[in-house]
Subunit: 197 residues, 2 copies
């Protein structure tokens, strides 16, 4: 598979959820898209470098994580039809602190922030897209913070089960534990408890 019509249509459809998309602007956007395939285990990018790409996931799963004192902490997971960008790095123009690794065989499109900025220049529609996407990641983040602060691990896991079934179904337990900021042992015990009740 590559930049087939079918794949590109999925991007178009997603963008159309946010803004009106005149055909000629879409064609310009489309021309910026590049295809990328990763095998399970391969890296999209590693911390320490500046990255300037915005990704759209076609299939598979990307895990992002921070590394500190030799320990990994998972930051997020991105599945098919999710956008992903090392936002903080791009916005602040600092080296990226996230590592991004495929934990399934994964296919993506990407464009660069420079290309996106070019789109922003086209007018308020594209600025609006930028605003809406920024607002969306903000909202996600907001939710996660609240859940981290107000719920104990068990409640947090239950919420995840409801709100992000893909996380629970497709991600290994020790990765999930790291995402929830608990040890794998604790997550195992939580699941055990939930099973027996």
């Amino acid at each position: 598979m590559d930049k087939s019509d079918q794949s590109v249509e999925r991007v178009k459809k997603d963008i159309s959820r946010y803004i009106e998309l005149p055909e000629e602007e879409w064609l310009l956007f489309k021309s910026h898209l590049n295809f990328l395939a990763l095998q399970k285990g391969e890296f999209l990018h590693k911390a320490g470098n500046k990255t300037n790409r915005i990704y759209f996931t076609l299939k598979g799963c990307i895990r992002t994580y921070n590394l500190k004192d030799g320990k990994e902490k998972n930051y997020n997971f991105h599945f098919e039809d999710d956008w992903y960008a090392p936002y903080y790095s791009i916005l602040t123009d600092k080296a990226c602190s996230l590592n991004a690794q495929a934990i399934e065989d994964t296919e993506l499109f990407y464009l660069t922030i420079q290309d996106l900025n070019q789109m922003y220049e086209l007018g308020k529609n594209w600025q609006k897209l930028g605003r809406l996407l920024a607002e969306k990641v903000f909202i996600e983040k907001e939710k996660k913070e609240e859940q981290l602060r107000f719920n104990n691990p068990e409640e947090h896991y239950k919420l995840l089960l409801m709100e992000k079934p893909r996380f629970v179904n497709r991600v290994q337990q020790y990765h999930l534990a790291s995402y929830l900021d608990i040890s794998p042992e604790t997550l195992s015990r939580i699941r055990n408890r939930l099973r027996n009740q």
Copy 2:
């Protein structure tokens, strides 16, 4: 004091940091601004209502917090020249989960999201402002999450000391503790430790 030239100029100056601001657009924006003064202890808004205002702080301090099981958890503090909006509520059009209270005598300007949306319609400059502000709160949030996850309370407090001196200097210790997600006793012990070394 009220909508004096001097106060309004501070808003203009701040917006100009983000976008070019033609005089006639500024005049329109300015006409949307309303003045509000609160005494220490008074509330800007309470959880459970929909709020649609975006605030610019002229002086004083606003504390925002969540309430769960009768316990307060401080979410943020806003001082002079800070923007504040119950972003999540405005963006999702859900009832606000935050309470906002003046913890010093406080003066603010506000405009409604409807007014801001009207500004957005003027063109890409204003959409850009919206985007940049959304990106800014996102970055703030991102930083805080990272600090919460990777640092123990003592390290977290030291970072706050460096990065947000206004928090440490002007906010009561038990409010700060709640913001840092630790008990007041723990914060007191941290400060004690730092004093004796």
